[in-house]
């Protein structure tokens, strides 16, 4: 009953504090709108080159010499000679030597002006590439499959068509960058398909009009068009769609980013509560009235918890209707919100207990000015974590808001509840850990209370 009374009183106190309400509720809504619109064109569009590039590792799973040899053997074999004459076969072999699929992909495509703005690549051994992906050094691994050179030469130089699957492995924590890489590779595949289709049309037309070997005489020009085709590949990042997943717009991102950042201010506000009570002598008055210290602490915990939840509800409602943000399934969103509020409440009372023990507001001040800002930066509240340097990405696990943000974004993209269980567990664990810390800090034997002119230890309530 006393805990409920404390919660009601604290909520009334905060709701009547215009400055606190401005920071807790008005500020995030304003920033949400500004950032959503200001970064609408740059968030995932062509200007992304202004930010850090996406790092990828390219793995060659083929044996280049073997593939070239196999192609030459195939040209010499009777299979192909059934359709074309000796001269045409020789012409194909000569022009085929100029067709280098590896160079096309790596130099003509990945190093093209358009793609190089977005992607930095490095050639790596397969196992090393996977390690880099796990460590967050690269956002995706592109696998050029076995027989890549052979199959591509077949596709580009002969009437036949072999299937070439360029694999893209992405890390679930860097899904945005992963989607960018997948989209770019798809754009490459589409361009190559167009070239191959053009070539096949040429050959089939020659055969239909019984042009014989003359049908292959235009092959050189077709091949020369490949570079142009690759050079003209345009990657529209706004159209990126991963199978079964939805795009994240700037409004989506910053709605979640501001939400997860500003609930930390509820913890900051909570961090001052105990010492404010002590300065007002209301803490001592509650102790004299028989309120246990842990009861007071529990009251503060649930106050911060409810304030954070209130923030979440207001921000989600506002962003849904005003910014057309699609948050995804309600149930996992509620789950994330509750666990994030729980974590915020835990941190809030830990700061409150430490601030109370210190007897001044330095601790709460440091939390509000330095720690929240650092967590916001590391957690991706200012910029998407995927485009930040690797070191920052590694440190992002230390940010409560970063964990919550990743969970919200996953649900927005269409992931299921199972995909965010680890995030929920992490947030709940953080809340429980800090709450326990707060109890340890405040729950020691006796405590300092201000008697008019001296410091004293209060009796255990």
């Amino acid at each position: 009953m006393k805990v409920i009374s404390i919660i009601i009183k604290d909520l009334k106190t905060i709701l009547s504090d215009k400055k606190a309400m401005a920071i807790i509720l008005a500020m995030p809504l304003i920033l949400m709108v500004i950032l959503s619109f200001a970064l609408k064109g740059t968030f995932m569009g062509g200007e992304i080159g202004n930010m850090s590039k996406v790092n990828i590792a390219v793995v060659k799973q083929y044996d280049k010499d073997m593939d070239v040899k196999s192609f030459d053997n195939m040209l010499k074999s009777g299979l192909l000679s059934q359709g074309i004459g000796k001269e045409a076969a020789e012409e194909l072999r000569v022009s085929g030597a100029d067709v280098e699929p590896e160079k096309m992909f790596l130099e003509d495509f990945l190093e093209s002006e358009e793609v190089a703005k977005i992607i930095d690549f490095r050639i790596e051994e397969e196992s090393r590439a996977y390690d880099l992906l796990d460590e967050g050094e690269v956002s995706a691994v592109v696998l050029l499959p076995p027989k890549f050179i052979y199959d591509m030469k077949i596709n580009l130089l002969t009437p036949f068509r072999n299937k070439v699957n360029i694999g893209v492995l992405t890390h679930p924590d860097r899904s945005i960058n992963g989607q960018i890489v997948q989209a770019i590779i798809e754009a490459y595949s589409d361009a190559m398909s167009s070239v191959v289709i053009g070539k096949n049309v040429l050959i089939e037309a020659a055969m239909a009009y019984e042009l014989g070997d003359n049908g292959f005489s235009g092959m050189k020009e077709v091949m020369e068009g490949i570079s142009n085709a690759i050079g003209n590949i345009r990657v529209n990042l706004d159209d990126i769609v991963v199978e079964g997943r939805r795009n994240i717009s700037s409004a989506d991102y910053y709605a979640a980013a501001m939400l997860t950042m500003f609930i930390l201010f509820a913890a900051g506000h909570g961090g001052r509560m105990l010492l404010e009570e002590k300065d007002n002598i209301t803490y001592q008055r509650m102790i004299i009235a028989g309120t246990p210290r842990l009861g007071i602490l529990a009251g503060k915990f649930f106050t911060v918890f409810l304030i954070a939840l209130l923030q979440v509800i207001v921000m989600i409602t506002f962003s849904t209707y005003a910014l057309k943000v699609r948050w995804g399934n309600l149930y996992p969103i509620i789950l994330i919100s509750v666990s994030a509020a729980f974590a915020v409440a835990g941190i809030g009372i830990a700061v409150a207990a430490a601030t109370y023990r210190a007897g001044n507001y330095k601790m709460a001040g440091i939390f509000e000015t330095a720690i929240i800002q650092t967590m916001a930066l590391l957690g991706g509240s200012f910029f998407p974590i995927d485009i930040m340097p690797v070191m920052f990405r590694k440190l992002s696990v230390l940010s409560l808001n970063g964990i919550a943000l990743k969970a919200y974004l996953k649900i927005m993209m269409g992931y299921g509840t199972a995909d965010i269980i680890s995030h929920i567990a992490a947030l709940t664990g953080i809340g429980a850990l800090f709450a326990a810390l707060a109890v340890l800090i405040l729950g020691g034997k006796g405590e300092t209370a201000d008697v008019k002119y001296n410091k004293a230890k209060t009796v255990k309530a």
């Binding site: 006393k2 009374s5 007002n280 004299i288 028989g290 008697v451 001296n454 209060t458 009796v459």
Partner: protein
């Protein structure tokens, strides 16, 4: 009948002895005063009695049971009015009373009824819907008292409840204290205002530097300086050298500078009044006022400590 008994109470803060082995008892139904200057140890004593802090040594018995051993047993019976305003300024008076009432376990219609009764007692009926930060100092003080009365405590402890307020509010508070006492409430009242303690208290402890230097009823305390009269002189220009001269006059036992007045006391001081005036004018000073005072607690304190209560 003794309600509260303080036995050899000590409270040290490091090397500082804030309370130095005091003992006293409070009888049921009386107004008991703790009088002393700032820093005498009154608030520390009150903090220990109200179970906020634990003593270094000694015990406090409430109805014969130690509250040091079991502080929870007394808390529901205690009402404490802190020296500072212990309220929430951004909440209304009504919200404040609702909160403090619920902290003491009141709820529903019972709580509402008590708030209405208390608002009458403290004279804030009609202003309870206003935020406390809009109240005057006197109104805050009265609400501060009201918050301690909601659960109808047996023992009300009031720590300097009239500090910094206007005379009208002070009178209202003093009348309230008397009315509560008439209704049967036992009250411990601390103050450094001698007049308030004289007006309210049945028995008084005078504290200085953590010790009780005198205790008893007002009459008993004044008896300590029986026959001693005090004359307060206000001069056109103060001169400390006069003090030694005045002390040498026959019949003068004490001459002290208290703020802008010289307090001269002694048995049959009126017989020495002519000599006093003569010595002052002999020093080239003019007397702007003379005030002959009857023996009071101020004089008792001066007599016992050699300094004024206001020091």
């Amino acid at each position: 009948m003794t309600l509260l008994k303080v036995e050899k109470l000590y409270k040290n803060f490091g090397a500082v002895k804030a309370v130095d082995g005091i003992s006293f008892d409070v009888k049921r139904g009386e107004v008991f005063g703790l009088l002393g200057p700032n820093g005498a140890g009154k608030s520390t004593t009150i903090s220990v009695v109200s179970t906020l802090i634990s003593p270094t040594d000694g015990d406090i018995l409430y109805e014969g049971k130690s509250i040091i051993a079991d502080p929870k047993a007394i808390r529901q019976k205690l009402g404490v009015v802190p020296q500072d305003i212990a309220l929430y300024p951004t909440l209304t008076g009504y919200e404040n009373l609702t909160f403090w009432g619920s902290i003491y376990g009141l709820k529903g219609s019972g709580l509402k009824k008590r708030i209405n009764e208390i608002s009458e007692v403290i004279g804030l009926n009609g202003r309870l819907k206003d935020r406390v930060d809009k109240y005057s100092g006197g109104m805050k003080r009265r609400l501060n008292i009201g918050a301690a009365l909601l659960h109808m405590p047996e023992l009300l402890i009031m720590d300097e409840p009239t500090v910094g307020i206007d005379p009208q509010s002070r009178n209202h508070i003093l009348d309230t204290v008397l009315e509560l006492n008439r209704q049967g409430m036992t009250i411990i009242y601390t103050s450094h205002y001698m007049e308030e303690v004289e007006f309210l208290c049945d028995r008084i402890c005078i504290m200085d530097q953590g010790r009780i230097i005198a205790s008893g009823s007002q009459e008993e305390l004044v008896e300590l300086i029986k026959g001693e009269t005090q004359v307060n002189l206000r001069l056109d220009r103060m001169d400390k050298n006069i003090l030694e001269t005045l002390r040498s006059i026959k019949g003068v036992s004490r001459a002290e500078l208290i703020q802008d007045e010289i307090a001269v006391s002694g048995e049959n001081i009126d017989m020495a009044l002519g000599e006093i005036i003569s010595q002052v004018t002999g020093h080239g000073r003019r007397i702007s006022s003379i005030d002959v005072k009857k023996p009071n607690l101020e004089a008792v304190f001066l007599h016992l400590t050699g300094k004024a209560l206001r020091d």
